[in-house]
Subunit: 345 residues, 4 copies
């Protein structure tokens, strides 16, 4: 059995990890930490987990360091304070925050508003998008689990970028997210049910901290620099991110070649579904699951590809993707405990 | 491996069965039937199942009869035409419709509007509420899976009725259901998104066909006749039934005895959660799962108990409850493939 | 022009008052107060009012007392501290809180948790349900605007009670409310969008402070004491209350007499709609409006009437009802500024 | 009084017209037609209109032609068959369909799939976007009411285009619409509540018939050809369209100049609200109203403007905009009967 600790088990991401890991046949949960609820039963904080007997404790680096792998579900800027000590104790780490996603430490002050305190680990951290970093992840000691928006944007665009069929100089990413992406702990008026229900709005146009993460991974796929203009939107749903990305096509890019690039990219992927023919990605088709539905449409008038993806921001966009990484790191079938299809409808 | 057929696999109940059974380690799906979509991939009809390779076929009693167990997910009044032939071929049957729920054939014309064509099977059919019919179900050849509303009403009230703490002469059941209870095939204006969203309404006051089913099972628990006044409501949610039942208390019923009856009833049940203290049942805590959350509140002014339950109408109220039955019938742990906690939030 | 002040203009009730009064041809808004947002534009706090030029100020009894009528939209227990002084200055008062709804001061400690500090005004306060207190309201100096739940329960049941067709000894009221009933200022986890969406739950079984208000008004209609068992539910909608009330029928009550009682009660009412035939009350049909849709169904097996109503908790259940009162108090047509049909869908 | 007929009064647009016109002090509704419901009360078809006494009749060109103005709320391709005859009878016409929006008849076969049968009227038809065609509309005999998506896209981008601050060669328009945009009569699975709730998807990428309408009006504003790449999305809301448009900026366009263009464009407009500072457009702020909230954000890294708008697709995007036109055509204050702020929350 793999000994697993979850630091920050009472955020939406942490609790989703526990939900998934509770059914993992090779995992023993050895520690679940919470600053606010230490000493309480997790089932009293998350009613879906009421039937399960998990107790929350305060974070003790010594204790969590005895696990084989530690998931961090803390707010941005907090994991980096604890991760070095945990790694030293021999545990492997999967961090759900943005703390280890960017390779360039200098980007943190600008996009995250803090100086990185463990910049030496950035080069080592493997970016946890299994579809593109599988080999590296298998042996990784430290994994930076992708952001929810980048997961959607990357799965939608990377096949096109890798195939060299588009001009990567400027990519417009327009994403629509359910409200659970805002987390559970910050009770802002914007997420108060009467305000968020039946509302659509945009935020963080061009300033969202997920932007450099997209650019980094897209550039790696394209082999040349990428500039992303990213707009995030809130839609009245609990879960789900739908991404619409606009890329310029190279003059010689044919519809056939473009569609083939997607079929090839996801043909062997256990969690990538390409929607062709009359089918479209729908966030509902991914609810609670690790699947991502992807499509590409070509607009010949504009000589543009419109790249679409749908996923669950707490699933493939966060917790189940992290479990998929863990499976890979420990030599298990990737789909262990995360292979269930979405609940539908 | 248990060979399993699902007749009517493209209704919400049938598709939920496939979703659950796709992860069942002891099940081989040998036939999935659909009148409308025969010949198509199930994954083209249900996008959450797109990653799975299931093909739909027309109903062939011979073929499905070769399974060890056949789930029927047909509209009321249709299963009774096929079940006798399937049983003759040696398969066991779990029927999700109301066709075998009532012991008295004479009730069908009044409540369902049809004459029963296989009344000889009614006595044999085991009522699939595991919490009260476990022994009988283990050896049953034919199971009548409970209705979604009755499941909620029975789980809420049976502990009180069995303990003899209430007067069963009249029970008021006020239930609130998500719209998926209306099924997928009937596209009525009432379920058109713009009409159903942000709307609450009642229907079928005192005339709902689930009424005699509640009365039958409540009377069995109470040991005396029960008259139920049942009101169904539609609320703007996809899944979930919340039930509020009002029962008169016997003069000597104490709060302690009442609460004890619930703790005792569900103490060893794998899927019953009693909400005490400050906790309340929430449908969200059961989304996509086989769990039911139950609570009892005592109003001393009115000398009444208010019995509450929350469950997923497609889960414990339909498909996962049917799988729980199947596990029991085949000697497997009850929670196999249906033990996952609800996705939350 | 009627000079109108709104004290507490930034709660949902206060802002809805301003929305309605902004279109009232006989009203001049002379003061809008807010503790939290004094000095700001109301349109910066409520984006729907952005096009309107209203400025918020701190509460100054002297200033608001110069109005002809002052609406109070403060939390329970706060209006009673200011109302006497405002009345002394000659203004009339319509209070949206519960502070003046109960005739018996002794009920406040038990149900509201405070001692009433202006008990001398309770006898004088007119209960603002126009349908039953029209004459009294026309000349009232102080109006206690009904609670949202009581408005629904009373409109559903009073015709039956007044007609003497039911046994008033025990009435069960089961109400389903949208989340805006919780107000805007208390950002609790229960109202966080991801938690409240796709959830149904009950709260305050038998302990809700709207209970004695229902009992008081029902008893007045029935001419004998009434005991109400009230259960409140939260459903995933922004606006709307749906009420289902269960009453025992007298042995001689006929369906015809019952239905006639409703048609008579609402035949001349501008805002009461009786749903007969195949029609049912729907909260959506009342969204943003002052209309209430009402129906009665008779269950002969149970010898019970099931009384139904649907309304907008911020409309007929709060702000537009208060404007209807004001119109009556100032001799205007009742529907002035509140006669618009609901937005649909 | 202006005599008004509504042809197609039982679609969402037609019923919204009736809702608004029922409160118009200068309007007498002389005919409401419906193919499906002729002979019935409109209040039996639309429960929000139950309190109003309107009867539906079959379309009789003679009869509706006696009105001063006829609103057409028929599906695309049907109004053009009746409009010439109605105009001949001396009535003015406001058509809510796309039949008269495009100046070039040759575009209809490609985008709408039909040959235009009254091409001679296209030149005469005034495009009903009051903000840009006010003078022309005042005297128009035939008005083509804008599409819901174009209204959002045009209000978001025209100030920038008119000011010459952007390069109009390619504009990307990414819109998110509530489900009521699909209408009431087509009960498709995609709009079945359980399927549409908690789902986000895209449709009609690059092929939506609103595309040439956007291009026509944007080109007129820019003074040079415009190519629009338009993607429509469905989000789980009843009403509301949120538009995010991406435009390239000219090298000399400053943030100050851009923001000034919006303030100038909407400074005197009764229904345009510019969101600056920390404010963002929200569809909720426009629910049921004729207001549009607009914002522009500049991304200097990408040298792009992101132009945002929020409106009610059945309000400013359809029915209330048509009433605003009518007011203008008859010399009334534009806000008559459509000046109410949105219901909020």
């Amino acid at each position: 059995m793999i000994k697993v600790a979850v630091v920050g088990a009472t955020g939406y991401g942490g609790a989703e990890l526990v939900r998934l890991l509770s059914g993992h046949p090779e995992v023993a949960l050895t520690a679940l930490t919470s600053r606010t609820y230490a000493g309480q039963r997790l089932g009293d904080v998350y009613p879906n987990l009421a039937p399960f007997d998990y107790t929350l404790e305060a974070l003790d680096v010594e204790a969590v360091g005895r696990a084989d792998v530690v998931f961090f579900g803390l707010p941005h800027g907090e994991a980096m304070a604890h991760v070095p000590a945990v790694l030293e104790r021999g545990a492997r780490v999967i961090d759900l925050s943005g703390d280890f996603r960017l390779k360039e430490a200098a980007l943190y002050p600008r996009w995250y508003g803090f100086e990185h305190t463990a910049p030496g680990l950035l080069a080592e951290a493997a970016y946890g998008l299994v579809e593109t970093h599988r080999a590296e992840l298998a042996s990784a000691r430290l994994v930076a689990n992708p952001g929810c928006y980048p997961t959607g944007a990357l799965l939608a665009t990377l096949p096109l970028l890798r195939a060299g069929l588009s001009d990567p100089a400027e990519i417009i990413v327009d994403s629509k997210s359910g409200v659970s992406g805002a987390g559970r702990t910050s009770l802002k008026l914007a997420y108060h049910y009467p305000e968020a229900n039946e509302d659509v709005s945009a935020y963080a146009v061009g300033t969202h901290r997920h932007t450099p993460e997209m650019e980094q991974e897209m550039a790696a796929a394209a082999g040349s620099p990428v500039r992303v203009l990213f707009t995030a939107h809130l839609v009245p749903a609990t879960r789900g991110i739908f991404t619409t990305a606009y890329l310029s096509l190279r003059p010689d890019a044919t519809r056939d070649a473009i569609e083939a690039a997607y079929l090839e990219a996801y043909g062997d992927e256990p969690f990538g579904v390409v929607c062709g023919g009359g089918a479209w990605p729908h966030t509902k088709a991914t609810y609670g699951s690790n699947f991502a539905h992807v499509a590409v449409r070509v607009d010949e008038r504009a000589q543009r590809a419109v790249c679409l993806s749908a996923l669950d921001n707490l699933g493939k966009g966060m917790a189940s993707q992290a479990v998929q990484c863990m499976n890979l790191m420990f030599g298990l079938p990737e789909a262990t405990a995360v292979g269930a299809p979405a609940a539908y409808p």
